[in-house]
Symmetry: C2
């Protein structure tokens, strides 16, 4: 039998939950191992958040350059090298993954390469990969294996005609046409990206709106913007009867009773995620699951003492920043560094242009809950900075308690929306009111003034509308 090592903590999975947990435990002076079967940083860093942001920057720049004339700048023919766009994205992911490996070393985290399996409480065996055969022992185990892309039933992902975001991120050939199935953040970002470079994009969503979890008004605004940009949007629509041919895929778009047959070079499936649970627990390890997600208590511990879980593997919302938060809290708790917090308020972001971000309740949710709310709105057309930047699309919308000014939710569509949401998130965490935001001096001219003016608008005191 191979050697066995003793740790304070073994983390299975090196994504935003796993690597953060390992680094945090290292900071606390604990002996820790992080087991990762692919690349440090996990899906987020290698095949998700980070490489897509690199792609989107190229797309943005390309579109901006085509409109540079407005800014007094002209260029000869503007072209792109799609392979290079994709390679830059891989390079960024690679660079950040190296960064995580550096942080592992700095924090004395043993980085184990392979697939980790909890073979018994306190015991992890490496069952595949480079370090296969190793056995690790620890008082604490954190399962942070995350999720992977859900596949469309009966439709094989071949990486050529049918892809998930993962294959799309590795694909150096720009498709002439694409059908994107699912208009959540991932589907929407790829729609923006491919459309920017000239692909004929059809974005299909089963629910009534794109970004269905966002505020309806935001979703509708994005739909109009996307349609103007040339993206075909089919909401309330199902995809059926996929026929994968040599060069194209045919499928039916079904809305109500109506069928529309379409054909595209590529189908991108962006219909959500499923838990990476297969093989993580040996048969004798009776960790309780809820469907495929690991059940945890308030301290992120499972029903088995010493086995914890955090991140996507404990269920929705599947967001990297939540994974990191949970993992750090779990580690703090297991080593007596304060009572672990559960996730309360959190932001969600989509990085197309215009960007979308939100935190807290949508207006439709406030209505459903029969809250006595009011809305403050401020359009970027009234923001000097937005107009000067040539980015006056969109608005800030805040939903507040009519009496107290407590913030129920905030929703932003427009330039830098994903940065601007931070202030509302912070305000909600502190239980601050719209008055507090309104009375804080915001720098002029900035887009952040729109955050303030929306708060002021909810009080009838916005100056610039």
């Amino acid at each position: 039998m191979a050697e066995s090592k003793d740790y304070d903590l073994i983390v299975i999975g090196g994504g935003p939950a796993g690597y953060a947990a390992a680094i945090r435990a290292g900071q606390l002076g604990k002996k820790v191992a992080c087991v990762e079967m692919e690349s440090a940083g996990g899906t987020c860093l290698n095949w998700g958040c980070i490489p897509t942001k690199a792609l989107l920057k190229s797309a943005e720049l390309y579109l901006k350059m085509k409109k540079a004339d407005e800014f007094g700048i002209s260029a000869g023919e503007i072209t792109f090298d799609f392979a290079k766009v994709m390679e830059r994205s891989r390079g960024v992911a690679g660079q950040m993954a190296k960064g995580i490996e550096f942080l592992f070393k700095k924090n004395k985290v043993d980085y184990i390469r392979g697939k980790g399996q909890v073979s018994a409480p306190g015991m992890v065996s490496i069952v595949e990969g480079k370090d296969m055969g190793q056995f690790l022992k620890a008082k604490n185990i954190l399962i942070a294996t995350g999720c992977k892309m859900r596949r469309i039933p009966g439709l094989e992902v071949d990486g050529e005609r049918v892809m998930t975001s993962r294959e799309a991120l590795a694909n150096k050939k720009l498709p002439k046409s694409i059908v994107i199935v699912g208009a959540g953040a991932i589907g929407v970002e790829f729609a923006y990206f491919y459309n920017a470079f000239g692909t004929d994009v059809t974005l299909v969503e089963m629910l009534p709106n794109v970004l269905p979890i966002e505020d309806n008004e935001i979703s509708k605004t994005l739909e109009r913007s996307f349609e103007k940009q040339g993206i075909k949007i089919r909401t309330g629509t199902k995809c059926e009867n996929f026929q994968v041919g040599k060069d194209t895929v045919k499928l039916d778009l079904v809305k109500g009773g109506e069928k529309e047959e379409i054909e595209a070079e590529v189908v991108l499936s962006a219909i959500g995620v499923v838990a990476n649970i297969e093989g993580v627990l040996a048969a004798n390890v009776k960790v309780a699951l809820d469907r495929d997600y690991v059940k945890v208590g308030d301290d992120y511990q499972t029903n088995v003492k010493g086995i914890y879980a955090a991140g996507d593997i404990i269920g929705p919302p599947w967001l990297a920043h939540i994974a990191t938060f949970e993992a750090v809290q779990a580690v703090n708790g297991m080593f007596g560094h304060g009572k672990p917090k559960r996730v309360g308020n959190f932001p969600g972001c989509t990085y197309c242009q215009p960007q979308v971000s939100s935190t807290g309740l949508t207006e439709q949710a406030a209505k459903e809950k029969k809250l006595d709310y009011k809305v403050g709105k401020f359009p970027f057309t009234a923001s000097g900075k937005a107009v000067a930047s040539g980015a006056a699309e969109g608005f800030v919308k805040v939903i507040t308690d009519k009496k107290t000014g407590e913030i129920y939710g905030a929703h932003i569509i427009g330039a830098e929306a994903t940065e601007l949401i931070a202030e509302y998130g912070f305000a909600m965490d502190l239980e601050a009111t719209v008055e507090d935001i309104h009375h804080t001096i915001h720098a002029h001219p900035t887009l952040s003034e729109a955050v303030m003016e929306a708060a002021a608008a909810s009080l009838g005191e916005a100056i610039h509308i």
Copy 2:
């Protein structure tokens, strides 16, 4: 004698203090007039904050386009039409000025064109301009005449060889070379702008650092960045012996005992501002001044009952967002809408690239005050969003009380620094701690995570460094 009209409030000056005061009074249902001798929006909107931001966007885009190859995008020869760059900036200013006029109408503000003079308490006469000869009466008068550019003694501003920012904003010819005297925000922004378009720029500052009011570490970082960009920086240096010729200006740069003669097509004076007080008060109106600034009490009222002042005219810091804040507070107070607040914490921004922003104490000030502080720093090289965006220059720095985590000050240099500072400003207003920021879930991947990680770093708990 001409007709005389009765108002609840007459505002003299239509800039960020004046127009905001007038609109706010309108919101409160008051009868209000705003007297402006040039364009609604004042210097900020017409000849300051707003048109410069438009110019800077063109400069940024031009520089980005020249590096588009990194992003997989290529263009033929990239050129610019400087006159068009300037015209766009004028267009943006014009559009925003029209917006203010619209807001005047919406809020039933009488917009009076001309130079207003307080001829007696409760009485304003229009002594120049389109509406010259009108007399206005009101219970309350708010002086919001702001400031204008300070001129270098003995050096005439001719708009060709010698300019202030005002003339530069109207100048459609790109100078081959320029000496910018003064490296505050305005000097620094013009240095970035002209250098981007190929002008040979020398930026001269009498004090030891560019942006002398910023944290030393930020100033030094900006200096290094500017030098890399090709800007010549002369700090601790005086300009003497200007000789204005037909095509160039010669002058001496004096540092210590050393003299360096230089010659440039244009000298831009950016050495601060002086109060617009001339002719604002008739001789018999004994409003107390401090040098040329109007003295006010906590309610923004001068020593003369019913005469108030707000904005640049009451003295430093000369910032549009402070002017607006003061003006709104003054109006709230005069009409019994809450006790007027004085300015506490406020942000300052410089919109070159990398951007600079700050709020609260610099490290040097914390040291001088002998505070028991610590520093949290987070570099953008460790931010996935910054790297993916190709904008990894700079850092976030927060200065906190070593024991309590109270935030003394925050300083940001890098992409979107001017937006990111809002969260720290809000935190300081709420007397929140770095722990509060650290424990708030920030969206991944965003630059705002760097705000959080700097807070975490001050506690030794940053994950990504």
